[in-house]
């Protein structure tokens, strides 16, 4: 049991000794009265001794109880039930602590320790210090860095322990997940046991800058019919903090082809990197220096610098740097850095760069007649081989100067089980898919699982494309195609549309897109297979259209298998009976770019925005940070047991300890928006949670805002009235007992012996 006034309670309880002392002292103080008729007194005493002792003890106990109750009333014990009766209800405080990237905003750039996150933690600790476990107060801690995490849930009575957890909470690089945190809180409030009489207080500790909270989203109420919820929020930060965020840093080709030794071809020795920046704050005119370098095997070459000159009001900018990749090795990492600003967490960006000496392309085809036949007899595989190795007379002899090494694989051999021929192929081009049986598709699916990029080209001679079913089933693609081609554009055919609605990240042809305008002009398409997206494939993203016809009909689509491998599906084969594309200048750059981009993007995920879900990696069992500090197990379904919230490099390891790939976790660019939001807007937004919303403001008494916010309800009297009433009741009882035990009523019937004496004497005298 705890007391609001423990000192007074202790003194009061010590006063229980007073009645006992009075009793003892009174016994000592009294002088004995000599008594003649002692034998009758003793006989009466022996007769009444037990009753008298009981009466004495009852009186003493009731007197001690009166003192004890008064002492307790003054000390004011804080019991949950008692508190509820007095308006001091037990509180369950749900602390939603914002440790997102935005919360690390510092008004004095370069000193992270004085950032807003430190102030939020201090508020949380102050608030926790006002809780009293004796009254039944409990505290829960949920950190907001996405995805929101329940650090202490359900609420625990040990506020000190929660305070220690708050102290140990580290800032993350992800965006605040207020919805997730509120979902956890709502569930906890509903499931909280012994909630009767207790008050639920949700404390949102966040600077409420735009990057953390999106006020456009409406919040669902936390209050239930049986339990109102009070919401207390930190006052939104109002200081202007200038911040530049690296929104993205992307090498224009994700796969670095270094080429054979000494065969440094064009483009193989350098990586152009596109760096996108966003900024928030005062948006004044200014300059931001961007430094980028490609580190590999512990070496760090000099950084390339780009300068971004901001005009007033400008929010986004893009910078390009070209990095020397000649010294890059397999574990090369791209690092980008900007100048220090209000938010340091978004000033760096890292990305592992996959590099190969030659890009192996496996062309699955029964026959290849390239170079031997006339052009008009070329099948689609011949056009593809030619486009992949345009500079090599015989594409099968050596690697092309561009770094692509073409190999052909007979589908019959795949069926026979020679799947090993596909291992190591960065790209697999499937032609004449109707010649593949189930075994062949299994081999291709296995290669895709290992990260190979698939290009599937329909057979040009087939009237009915029944192979599609086997393909979709083997690769678990989220799509469906018509089994018969559709003629488009009549005899003339339809032109290709150069534009794409895809974001640059997902557009495999983004690099050549500017040139498509001219290149697609001569191309005509006469037949295509039509796409019929499947509605039930909700788990995987819908296929993206890489190239479409002028009427919008997809011509080439890309889709991902559940394991994350990329598949590019041509809906018309590069055959002259379907389209004149193979004979046009577009064919070579299209296929070259498709192979390079696809090979770079297929396979395991290399970058991840903090807080987002990691795509499952087949065979990976754990994630180990490259500095060796952290280790996260990966569940059987390929998802990590703990979401990745902090920036850093991680190695995906197999069960045998082999590193499968490297993953870079970067900050969430959306969290870099440090634009302050108005307090009234935040209050209005939070009012969706509860009707009772208050912002922490500094109390005039100098008390910490968090402390005063929680103590606002404690306007109860300084003593406990129920206990005082109980003391009064016991005092009344004691009075009645004392009167009863004093046998005062015997007075009226007293004098039996005396009356008898008088009458005897009187009669004798008479």
């Amino acid at each position: 049991m705890n007391f609001l006034n423990p000192g007074l309670a202790a003194i009061g309880l010590a006063c229980i000794a007073v009645p006992i002392l009075i009793h003892i002292l009174m016994r000592r103080r009294r002088r004995p009265v000599p008594w003649g008729a002692m034998q009758f007194l003793l006989a009466a005493y022996r007769q009444q001794r037990r009753r008298m002792n009981l009466e004495q003890w009852l009186l003493l106990a009731s007197r001690c109880l009166i003192v004890a109750l008064i002492a307790l009333a003054i000390g004011k014990p804080v019991l949950a039930a008692l508190g509820a009766a007095e308006g001091i209800r037990a509180r369950t405080v749900y602390i939603l602590l914002d440790n997102s990237l935005t919360s690390q905003t510092s008004t004095s750039p370069g000193t992270a320790s004085s950032g807003e996150f430190t102030a939020l933690k201090e508020s949380a600790r102050t608030l926790l210090s006002t809780l009293s476990p004796g009254r039944g107060d409990r505290a829960a801690l949920i950190t907001l860095a996405g995805p929101a995490r329940a650090d202490v849930l359900p609420a625990a009575p040990d506020a000190a322990q929660v305070a220690q957890l708050v102290e140990r909470t580290q800032p993350a690089a992800s965006r605040a997940d207020i919805e997730g945190a509120l979902r956890l809180t709502r569930q906890a409030i509903q499931e909280e046991k012994d909630a009767a009489g207790s008050e639920a207080v949700v404390v949102v500790l966040s600077p409420f800058r735009s990057g953390a909270m999106d006020l456009a989203r409406t919040l669902e109420s936390l209050s239930t019919t049986s339990r109102p919820v009070r919401v207390i929020a930190e006052s939104p930060a109002q200081t202007v903090a200038d911040n530049v965020t690296i929104a993205r840093a992307q090498p224009l080709r994700p796969l670095l082809i270094t080429g054979d030794a000494g065969a440094a071809g064009p483009g193989t020795g350098s990586i152009p990197v596109r760096i996108e920046l966003t900024r928030s704050g005062s948006l004044a005119q200014g300059v931001t220096q961007v430094r980028a370098w490609l580190a590999s095997s512990g070496t760090q070459p000099p950084a390339q610098t780009a300068v971004v000159a901001w005009t007033p009001g400008q929010r986004t900018a893009t910078a390009f740097v070209t990095l020397d990749a000649r010294a890059a090795t397999q574990d090369a990492t791209l690092s980008v850095e900007t100048d220090a600003d209000a938010l340091l967490g978004d000033n760096t960006f890292i990305r592992p760069i996959e590099s190969v000496s030659t890009l192996r392309v496996a062309l699955i085809t029964p026959t290849l007649s390239a170079g031997a036949s006339a052009i008009d007899t070329f099948a689609s595989q011949d056009w593809l081989a030619l486009a992949l190795s345009p500079q090599t007379p015989n594409p099968l002899r050596a690697a092309d100067a561009s770094g692509i090494r073409l190999e052909t694989v007979d589908p019959a051999r795949l069926t026979a089980g020679a799947a090993a021929e596909l291992s190591g192929a960065a790209t697999i081009v499937v032609t004449q898919p109707h010649t593949l049986d189930a075994g062949g598709w299994r081999a291709i699916a296995a290669a895709a699982e290992r990260g190979s990029f698939l290009i599937i080209v329909p057979p040009e001679a087939e009237a009915a494309h029944t192979w599609i079913d086997a393909c979709v089933q083997a690769l678990a693609l989220p799509l469906s195609l018509s089994r018969e081609p559709t003629s488009v554009g009549g005899d003339e055919g339809l032109a290709l549309a150069p534009q794409s609605t895809l974001p640059p990240d997902e557009d495999l042809l983004a690099l050549v897109r500017p040139e498509l305008e001219e290149l697609v002009k001569p191309v005509r398409v006469r037949k295509v297979l039509t796409l019929q997206p499947r509605s039930e494939s909700a788990g995987t993203p819908a296929p993206a259209t890489l190239l479409a016809l002028a009427d919008g009909t997809p011509f080439m689509i890309s889709a991902r298998t559940p394991s994350g491998s990329l598949v590019a599906l041509w809906l018309a084969p590069p055959a002259l009976s379907w389209t004149d594309l193979p004979a046009k200048p577009l064919m070579v750059p299209l296929l070259q770019e498709l192979v390079r981009q696809g090979a770079g993007r297929s396979g395991p995920q290399r970058t991840l925005t903090a807080g987002n879900a990691l795509r499952a990696v087949t065979g990976a069992t754990e994630l180990a940070s490259t500095d060796g500090a952290s280790l996260i197990r990966i569940a059987g379904d390929g998802t990590p047991l703990e979401p990745l919230r902090s920036q850093g490099l991680w190695n995906l390891r197999a069960n045998d300890g082999r590193t499968l790939s490297t993953l870079a976790v970067n900050h969430d660019p959306a969290a870099g928006d440090t634009t302050p939001q108005r307090a009234e807007d935040v209050e209005r937004w939070l009012s969706g949670l509860s009707r009772e919303v208050s912002l922490l403001t500094s109390a005039p008494t100098g008390e910490a805002p968090a402390q005063s916010a929680l103590s606002a309800r404690r306007s109860a009297p300084p003593i406990s009235f129920p206990l005082l009433i109980a003391a009064g009741a016991v005092a009344l009882l004691e009075l009645l007992l004392a009167r009863w035990f004093s046998h005062a009523k015997v007075e009226t019937s007293a004098g039996t012996a005396a009356t008898a004496t008088t009458s005897t004497t009187g009669s004798a005298a008479a």
Partner: protein
């Protein structure tokens, strides 16, 4: 609490008796007198004047009656004159000459020193303490006053009076005598042995005292026992039975204090027994009912025991005057004399 008397109270023969002696019968007056010798005189004179005529008839040898002769009678008692006149043998019977002897037994045990009444109240004269320094009027004070008065009355009639002051045994004895010096001896004995320090814790052993007294008595007499009788009823019956066996007539005066009868104290002070019973802490209000039942039962038991032997029983309170017991004594004495004449 009454302190025991330091010694015999000195008499003041120069002090003249009060004019209106009846006033002194009240304990107020008795207490005002410094000496209980004088006090007793006042009591008796007051009592006598209240009767308006002397109740004492004087004793003489007189003819009582005739009865027919039966075989075996002593011929010396034949009345020859009657035989001569009537020719019938008649025996002449005479009133036997009787000596009226009074033996007064005064209890001086520890419990007799209790007295709740203040000396000032009892004296009525403003004196707060007795000549021997006590501030209360004890049961023993009341008992000695009564004993002295009885002795004085008896001596004035020329009868013999003896006194025994006792507790667990005979502490002092004055042999029966009708001489003038007897009065002074009785007063001295009562004063000398009144609650000496050695008597404080003494209990009452009446049977033993009766035995010791009977050893000194040769003829039948009237025995007046003045005590609070805080003793075992069986022992009381035992003592009375012995007196009965020897043919003595007994007057029982039970002297009690009003506080003992009412027990109306409210202060929860410890009570200490006056006959060595020890100390008991008790709330008098809590135990009053039970106590009153106890003492009431005992008083009834004493009275029944006394009356069972055909003896007279008188209960006195220290707050009452001595008139009624003295009148009772005189009536009892006359009845006794009358019975003696009829014998």
């Amino acid at each position: 609490m009454a302190e025991p008397s330091p010694g015999p109270t000195s008499l003041d023969p120069q002090r003249p008796p009060e004019v209106d002696a009846s006033l002194y019968l009240h304990p107020h007056t008795l207490a005002r007198l410094g000496s209980f010798e004088l006090r007793a005189k006042m009591i008796v004179e007051g009592f006598a004047s209240g009767q308006h005529r002397s109740p004492y008839q004087g004793l003489s040898v007189e003819f009582a009656q005739h009865r027919p002769y039966v075989h075996g009678d002593d011929l010396r008692h034949l009345d020859w004159k009657v035989f001569g006149r009537t020719d019938r043998l008649q025996l002449k019977q005479h009133q036997q000459e009787t000596n009226f002897d009074l033996m007064i037994l005064v209890d001086s045990s520890g419990s007799m020193s209790y007295g709740s009444r203040t000396y000032e109240d009892a004296s009525g004269e403003g004196r707060k303490t007795s000549p021997d320094g006590r501030s209360n009027w004890s049961k023993f004070d009341h008992a000695t006053a009564l004993a002295a008065a009885l002795a004085y009355i008896t001596l004035r009639q020329g009868d013999r009076v003896g006194t025994v002051v006792y507790a667990d045994e005979v502490r002092a004895m004055v042999k029966r005598s009708s001489s003038q010096g007897t009065w002074r001896q009785i007063v001295g004995a009562l004063a000398t042995h009144a609650l000496e320090p050695s008597n404080r814790a003494r209990t009452t052993d009446l049977a033993r005292v009766v035995d010791q007294t009977l050893a000194k008595l040769t003829n039948r007499c009237l025995v007046a026992i003045i005590s609070d009788f805080f003793m075992d009823l069986e022992k009381l019956r035992d003592a009375l039975a012995r007196l009965r066996f020897h043919g003595h007539d007994v007057l029982v005066f039970q002297v009690l204090d009003r506080a003992e009868l009412e027990f109306d104290m409210t202060d929860a002070a410890p009570f200490e027994g006056m006959e060595g019973e020890g100390l008991v802490r008790i709330d008098p209000r809590a135990i009053r009912k039970a106590y009153l039942e106890q003492i009431s039962g005992h008083l009834t038991g004493v009275e029944k025991a006394v009356r069972a032997f055909g003896y007279d029983y008188q209960r006195l309170s220290t707050h009452d005057w001595l008139g009624p017991p003295l009148a009772h004594f005189v009536a009892q004495r006359n009845a006794l004399i009358k019975r003696g004449k009829q014998r």
